[in-house]
Symmetry: C2
Subunit: 478 residues, 2 copies
């Protein structure tokens, strides 16, 4: 990517100032966008643009973009579609380089006039050297630059995952999930109808972006499939790409047409091609978040041999049976504990009801932090296992132990994580009598960098996804 | 089922008194079982049995069951396996009719001596006319009789779902999930190794039990497959049975052998047979809970035509695309809104960015309670749809509306539910910035009898399950 193009993107992701056209003092979107920038603590200048108001949320308002005296780095348009051409002309006159359009009512309507309007807008922008993001999108958020999502105002934690999504709602949803699950972002980009800048453009940038290590991509359709394939095949060996395709079914396809004016294409051909390119295809936003978390927190794991410590404090037998079913049916292996391993475990765990298999059922001994520490110590030393999974359900533990003891058990997990001896994943299903305490446990473990999942099914799927990817990368490199 | 056998079960599910053998004042299981009965407010007499203590948790303690002066309705044994035979003899001398064994360390160990001990225990019990539940189980909970789960102390809400599970942990887990999701229970029965009373016996009872309308069954293995098939085929046309089989994979099978001494058999043959018998087979505890909630709250729905109102307040387009993909790939149909319906919707929803398809994207108009009320009114009147699904994510709504307005939106849903015009299901994903408010919304809607799911995937699976069942029942009756 040449310097000029990189500079274009710099104006989007590190703007020195932002104009909001259609800003107002009320609770309309334009007002919210300004307010959200203020609340997030954005350090650049904010220029509200409104033809009738002179001050908005304590900031001087300008009748048009032309009237702003300072240079304008980035412009967000939130006025109705009918007013957009005039604003583009204003931006051209001002010398604005990048415009993002929240405004909807263009080609996604499927109607002739709005589609013509979109084309005219693109033509005028290109004549003036303006690049367009959208229309019909929720724009860009850059947590490290304190630029929040303009609609919800959510600002994610800074990190190295880029979200690139044709749906603004999905960037907002992933940011929201990320905050509670510790998934951290470099950029969140929604590009809606992609009338100008599209998935290919942004992917070319993210491939180079030093702040992005992992890419999440939501697409509803693509005009240049060959280039997308080629680009993903170039990126995958360098950075993992987690891909979710909307419109895989007929009904979804029709909805995608109305949503972002996208032709969705055949699902089977698509999936085969994406696999060949090395992209990790997922089928829901939840699976996308789960997989991103595994990529973010776990080292490159190419082996699929899992040791499971089943439900601490009780109910570990049945939970272990279902965990084994779910994990093995998703392609993970649970090699049995045999010979010497079994002897070592037996010297620690010997309660009636305990089961020295894999999954390991510590029975009532699972409530003793000191024993858990020893068990993890044994498992950490085994080269026959690539990863440890453990599940806890605070309702069970808190029936038997105090909150301090619950904390001691989780101290063991945090210490183990910090020891870096073996990757650890925790399953902790939400809901139940002690949900408050569970959320606190999840918060602690998440902060320590332990990926947490609400079920074995979701954990196993995420792990299978990343193990597949690291295997792909290994094969590619040899 | 004859009167004598019914009487046997009466002693389990409505005991006038309960003896806990192995009770103590400490935090051991025996003490917890007594404490949990007290906390739950159990109305019958509780007799702690301990050879060395004279008073336990304010109750007079007895050296043995023989020494209890009153009649003993039900006995829970929590002493080590080695002491069990003597306790059984005591129970025989006292004339106890039903004994439940929490104690583990019998045939599930796979070892000769414990297996022999289990057989000897059964022989002695039978000679004395005692029926055994377990060993290696968490016993019985009857919410309406204020009998909690002995281990966690959780007492579910009374209702008409019976849980019958070879795993005590699963009864505990389902009770815990049930409390937060409004799933209500008639009985929760865990029967562990099933050395005497087994799944068949309990199913025969639940088939007749007037307090049970829906049955959830977790099995790890079965000795008499033919009888089970026959019985499920008899029950299914009367009461839906939701079935989860542990040990469907080789690893799960081995774990099941160690957990409850069960031989698990071939998965494919099993699944085909269960389907023919009319049982709803599920593959995780989450899917079981989801399906139970749909059966509990929704009327018999045999049609699969769904109208979707996509994400209120924002992000409805992308959410609608994925909802359509997920629902149709799980066998639900989303007939498009056409002609007159579309016109009616257009007269209510006409914001830019809104999509008058199914899923319906109300765009920013989805934050207006009055408009939502009108939209639901239109959908309720359409005979082309069997059910309405709607999703809300409070993070989106609360970026745009006040808490009072959020409440007004949910008032609309509650009112709609009470109008009984069309079944309604809500999807409300957990996590995110406004989780506290979301939990409150979930609580309100749950109380109103609206089934809530954490994702479209889980909602669609549960719906597909019950639609299949009601279709099976219809076919059976014609």
């Amino acid at each position: 990517m040449n310097k000029d193009r990189l500079k274009e993107f710099e104006a989007m992701f590190n703007p020195q100032s932002i104009a909001v056209v259609g800003a107002s003092s009320g609770r309309k979107m334009g007002g919210l966008a300004v307010r959200h920038l203020q609340l997030a603590g954005y350090k650049g200048k904010i220029f509200p643009v409104n033809p009738t108001e002179r001050e908005i949320l304590g900031l001087k308002a300008y009748p048009s973009v032309r009237d702003i005296p300072d240079p304008v780095g980035y412009t967000i348009i939130m006025v109705p579609a009918a007013a957009v051409l005039r604003v583009i002309d204003d931006c051209a006159a001002k010398g604005v380089k990048v415009v993002q359009l929240f405004t909807a009512g263009f080609s996604e309507t499927g109607e002739a006039e709005p589609t013509r309007l979109e084309r005219e807008m693109v033509a005028r922008a290109h004549r003036a050297g303006i690049r367009l993001i959208g229309p019909n999108c929720a724009g860009i958020s850059v947590p490290a630059k304190l630029i929040p999502l303009e609609t919800t105002g959510v600002i994610g934690q800074p990190g190295d995952i880029a979200i690139l999504a044709q749906s603004g709602g999905h960037t907002e949803t992933l940011a929201d999930i990320g905050l509670s699950r510790g998934i951290r972002f470099s950029k969140l980009i929604s590009f809606g109808n992609a009338c100008d800048l599209n998935a290919i453009d942004f992917l070319e940038y993210l491939k180079e972006d030093p702040e992005t290590r992992i890419i999440a991509l939501y697409l509803e359709g693509i005009t240049d499939g060959r280039r997308l394939y080629q680009l993903l095949a170039e990126i995958s060996p360098i950075k993992p790409v987690v891909l979710l395709k909307g419109g895989r079914t007929e009904t979804g396809k029709e909805m995608a047409m109305s949503h972002t004016s996208s032709l969705a294409g055949s699902a089977a051909v698509w999936t085969a091609a994406m696999k060949q390119a090395g992209a990790i295809e997922v089928s829901t936003l939840e699976e996308m978040a789960d997989t991103l978390m595994a990529l973010q927190e776990l080292p490159p794991i190419t082996g699929n041999r899992i040791a499971i410590v089943s439900q601490l404090g009780g109910g570990a037998g049945g939970a272990g049976v279902l965990a084994a079913d779910v994990c093995t049916s998703l392609g993970l292996e649970l090699p049995p504990f045999t010979g010497e391993i079994k002897d070592k475990l037996k010297s620690i765990v010997n309660a009636p009801g305990s089961i020295l298999r894999n999954p390991l059922d510590m029975s009532l001994m699972g409530r003793q932090a000191a024993l858990l520490r020893k068990v993890l110590g044994v498992l950490a030393g085994l080269s026959d296992y690539d990863l440890i999974m453990l599940n806890e359900r605070p309702t069970f533990l808190l029936a038997l132990v105090s909150e301090a003891e619950l904390q001691a058990i989780n101290d063991v997990l945090v210490d183990f994580q910090h020891s870096n001896k073996k990757p650890l994943v925790v399953v902790s299903p939400p809901g139940g009598v002690h949900e408050k305490e569970r959320v606190e446990v999840e918060r602690r473990l998440t902060q320590a960098g332990i990926p947490i999942y609400p079920s074995f099914e979701r954990a196993a799927k995420a792990l299978a996804n990343i193990i597949w990817y690291w295997g792909f990368k290994d094969k590619y490199q040899t």
